[in-house]
Amino acid sequence: MTNHDSEQGGQAVPRLDALAHFMGVFESLGVLVLLVALVCAASIIAPGFSTYTNITNTIIMASITAAAGLGMTFAIAVGGFDLSVGSVQALTAIVAASLLGVASVPIAIIAALLTGLVLGLLNGVIITKLKIPAFVVTFGMMSIVRGVALLVTQGQSVMITKHPDFATLNNGKVLGVPVPFIIVLIVLAALYLILHHTPFGRHTCAIGGNRAAAIASGINVDRVTILVFGLVGVTAAISGVMLSSQLMIVDGTLGTGLELQAIAISVLGGTSLSGGNGNLVGTLLAAVLLATIASALNILKVAAFYQYLFVGVLLIFALSIDTVRRIILAKVMLRRI
């Protein structure tokens, strides 16, 4: 919770610190409690939910969203957003699938990750150097990258036939744990270390918390922001590779609405839209929560439209809670100062 310190400058009162810490714990626990309650409810209401196969499928689904969501959490921490992750996921999945026709598995994966990195860095450069708000830049990029994804495939599907072993990236298991979940745990560990234990992570939170103060204290704001968006691009690409190995047939329309899910799970997981902090563990838990809901609704044969409705309502709900949280924090701060 050192990030709350930097947000409040030197005026932080120890008790406020304790309160902020409590809220931090509550933020992670809140979504965990919700998740446990939901899993219990789902296994009672939806017969077949608590089978090994279904739980595995749910976790795989959660892992693919979570990969992109973890990057989004970083972007929110720096005080931005990336609306282009859905399109980047589609394009990188296509890059991976196309290259698998002519090259080996590692080369295809590396190329996909590089594509994501370059697109992310490009977002960052446009945002910082041209000084355009992040969400409009990534909104424009969402359209451009989607167009490119459709153009390179000519609107057709790309099938992965030459490397059937590529599917093990999705359906493989280590000690009964699905590979996608292991991948996402590694991503989580890496991002957690970067966010909480490196200067880069501290700078990210400092910029998100108070941009002017970050500039004044000599942080290279542009460079950090560009790198953060590069990171978001890579995580979107990771989720693109995971998706292509799940489907084994990809096209340019994949990943529509991923940006919404990624933002929803970040906020639901306890990352505040005001920036300055990122709750990565919460993001993963919220991704599992979202996947659990989808899986339960599927078993109960609720039409896909209603699931769509549900994501929207859930997002607005999570954001309202975030607002309440921000108001409480602001009030407490006002009283203390």
Binding site: F81, L83, I126, L130, K131, I132, P133, F135, V136, V137, F139, G140, M141, M142, S143, I144, R146, G147, V148, L150, L151, Q154, G155, G252, G257, E259, L260, I263, A264, L273, A303, F305, Y306, Y308, L309, V311, G312, V313, L315, I316, L319, S320, D322, T323, R326, I327
Partner: protein
């Protein structure tokens, strides 16, 4: 800067007209004229009356939405839910028309659009959620509602009134939606420059805190602006449904992007406080013309995504550069 300006004037032989100022002020309008003349010179099909009519018709869909969006951006917010709202209003219109008649169905669609626009405004102002993410969530909700209302089907709208609204013309050349679009711009212009609401919109957009201190009901002003966007979107839905003779939930995918791009390329700053309605009008024509040209030259539909996104980002880049030059001066 001043030196080049004088030189330019001298070389142009126009001492009284400030060429550079004119071009900066009417950037999109000049671009529109140049593009129209260029395309007309290159392609014989482009300059036919039928094609011109087509461009005007296409321009009115995004143009009507952009009029409301300009007012909302002036007040310092935006609405990404318009694509979902347009689909929902279209579906409601097409579903109700056979039962209660076209006129009443249109009224119902317009009221729905206006009310849901107000709902967007309430979510943004009262729940204090940043507009673009709140409306992104609302878009999901509207698309889902439209899917539920239409059961995922395409709803036909075959009444003769629809034919007049969608494909009819006034004076033989002006498509009905385009005439309505002109009216909408005149009304919005009136609201923005001659009414209390217009002054409030500009005040709220340029400095929210000052506006609040001055006693302006900031939230109410923004909510009304969202309502206007909703109303304009419903109007666009009416004409699109009429033109397609049908409606479905995803009939307007990407509409929010086009509308915001139109407003931005028209010269309205995303920072709020100032609006260029005439620019939005020209921007809508410009976008319709470019996509028309892409079709004529046989460039696939997928390029539209790339081109729209590129135009949005470059228009913003031009704005940012221009304002940094002004600060430097």
């Amino acid at each position: 800067m001043n030196e080049t300006r004088t030189n330019l004037q001298k070389s142009a032989g126009l001492p009284d007209v400030n060429v550079l100022d004119f071009l900066t002020k009417y950037f999109i309008q000049s671009l529109l004229v140049v593009a129209a003349l260029g395309l007309g010179a290159v392609n014989p099909y482009f300059r036919t009356a039928t094609n011109a009519e087509n461009v005007l018709l296409q321009a009115s869909f995004s143009g009507i939405g952009a009029a409301g969006m300009t007012l909302l951006i002036v007040s310092g917010a935006f609405d990404l839910s318009v694509a979902g709202l347009l689909g929902l209003c279209g579906v409601i219109l097409a579903k109700l028309a056979p039962d209660i008649g076209v006129t009443l169905a249109i009224v119902a669609a317009l009221v729905t659009g206006f009310v849901l626009g107000l709902v967007n405004g309430v979510v943004v102002t009262k729940l204090q959620i940043p507009p673009f993410i709140a409306t992104l969530g609302m878009m999901n909700i509207y698309v889902a509602l439209a899917f539920i209302a239409s059961a995922g089907q395409v709803i036909p709208a075959s009444d003769v009134t629809f034919q007049f609204l969608g494909t009819g013309t006034l004076f033989g050349v002006l498509p009905v939606p385009f005439v309505v679009m002109i009216l909408i711009y005149v009304i919005c212009r009136g609201i923005l420059s001659r009414t209390k609401l217009g002054r409030y919109l500009r005040a709220v957009g340029s400095n929210e805190i000052a506006a609040r201190t001055a006693g302006i009901p900031v939230d109410r002003v923004r909510i009304i602006a969202f309502g206007i966007v909703g109303g304009c979107t419903a109007l666009a839905a009416t004409f699109l449904t009429a033109e397609l003779s049908s409606a479905n939930a995803i009939m307007a995918t990407g509409y929010e992007l086009t509308v915001i791009a139109v407003v931005v390329i028209g010269g309205t700053s995303l920072k709020g406080g100032k609006g260029a309605l005439f620019g939005s009008f020209a921007g809508a024509l410009f976008f319709a013309m470019i996509s028309n040209a892409l079709n004529i030259f046989g460039v696939g539909a997928y390029w539209q995504y790339v081109v729209t996104g590129l135009f949005l980002i470059s228009a913003l880049a031009v704005q940012a550069l221009r304002s940094s030059f002004q600060t430097a001066e």
